[in-house]
């Protein structure tokens, strides 16, 4: 749920990074946090982390400048990807305006990617949100493992598994190295702001 404050000409939107456990959601936020200046980003909050697994969520607020006189504030959240934490995922999804789905390129995660996307579709549907309506961008993460001896999925295969029906923008990435992180963020921000302001204008 976006909030528009006309006294400050400011819009606040919520973008959630979703995807299977260990796929690289938290790593995306960590990279954004360390690459952006303090003028742009606020403090990153990571709660209830056990090792590097997210148990509740991560949070990073960004101030992305102005579009047509309107200041854009975007709050990034990650969900816990592990299957058993669905109640927590639903909680973090409350009021979402845009979604980045971080898929894991490891071949062993092929099914987990599909399951997680299906779980997203269901959780959105429970909140009366159609996955085809809400801004959504896919990131095929961990492409840096391409040259290694660890088996990874081809981009074509990931497209077929995840994006055949949705046909949304996608990016290859390596959250660890920072590749594709800002491309993904830029696209979801653009789409989310457009979507929110279209709702505003169609009033």
């Amino acid at each position: 749920m976006s909030f528009i404050d006309l006294s400050k000409n400011e819009v606040q939107c919520k973008v959630v990074y979703y995807g299977p456990g260990r796929g690289g959601k938290t790593t995306n936020l960590l990279y954004i946090h360390q690459a952006m200046t303090e003028a742009v980003r606020g403090k990153m909050v990571t709660i209830d982390t056990k090792g590097d697994r997210t148990l509740f969520f991560d949070f990073l607020p960004l101030a992305l400048g102005k579009i047509q006189g309107l200041s854009i504030k975007i709050q990034l959240y990650t969900v816990p990807g592990q299957v058993m934490y669905n109640a927590t995922r639903k909680l973090v999804l409350k009021g979402v305006d845009g979604i980045v789905f971080v898929a894991d390129s490891l071949r062993v995660q092929k099914e987990k990617n599909v399951e997680s996307l299906e779980n997203l579709r269901q959780n959105l549907a429970e909140d009366n949100i159609d996955i085809k309506e809400i801004p959504l961008v896919l990131q095929y993460n961990k492409r840096d493992l391409g040259g290694s001896n660890i088996p990874i999925l081809s981009v074509e295969e990931m497209e077929e598994d995840l994006n055949q029906e949705l046909q949304v923008p996608w990016f290859t990435g390596s959250a660890l190295k920072g590749d594709g992180v800002f491309e993904t963020l830029r696209e979801i921000s653009k789409r989310t702001v457009k979507y929110v302001s279209r709702k505003l204008l169609s009033r």
């Binding site: 919520k14 409350k94 949100i129 309506e133 809400i134």
Partner: protein, 148 residues
């Protein structure tokens, strides 16, 4: 008091949830209510957030306080507590209170969609804060567009 909040019935129909737009008058009204009934009663800081974690208004002296993080964490905390309420057969808890050594924090539900956060020191009574947050809540609901 004038109702100046707009919410999108169109957005609700398309299943996107309610977006909130507040005019300058509405924001000013909210500020007046918070200042008159909570800051003047001795609260150090008063923050209104929505349940998806957006910061609507903050008043008082939040020096060194990260209000944006506080808004996100409070919304999540409230959401988690609502789930606990369901597990024990309650609908929701209307308020939460945490007592610290020097600073206390009080959370109240405002309608279905908002949370009022009040920070106050040890020399202010909880009873007074409770009384005044109840009063404030009643005044905020119409400004925020009725029962969200």
């Amino acid at each position: 008091m004038q109702i100046t909040a707009l919410s999108f019935s169109e957005a609700e129909e398309s299943g996107v949830g309610m977006d909130l737009v507040l005019s300058k008058e509405s924001i000013d009204n909210i500020i007046n209510v918070l200042d008159d009934d909570l800051l003047r009663a001795g609260a150090d800081c008063v923050i209104l957030v929505d349940r998806s974690g957006n910061l609507i208004v903050n008043r008082g002296d939040p020096a060194n306080l990260d209000v944006v993080a506080l808004a996100a964490l409070s919304a999540a905390n409230f959401g988690a507590t609502a789930e606990i309420a369901k597990l024990i057969g309650e609908d929701d808890f209307a308020l939460l209170f945490h007592k610290g050594k020097n600073e206390n924090i009080h959370f109240t539900k405002v309608g279905k969609g908002f949370i009022l956060i009040t920070l106050f020191g040890k020399d202010v009574s909880l009873g007074l804060i409770r009384l005044n947050t109840a009063k404030v809540t009643d005044q905020l609901i119409p400004i925020l567009g009725g029962e969200q």
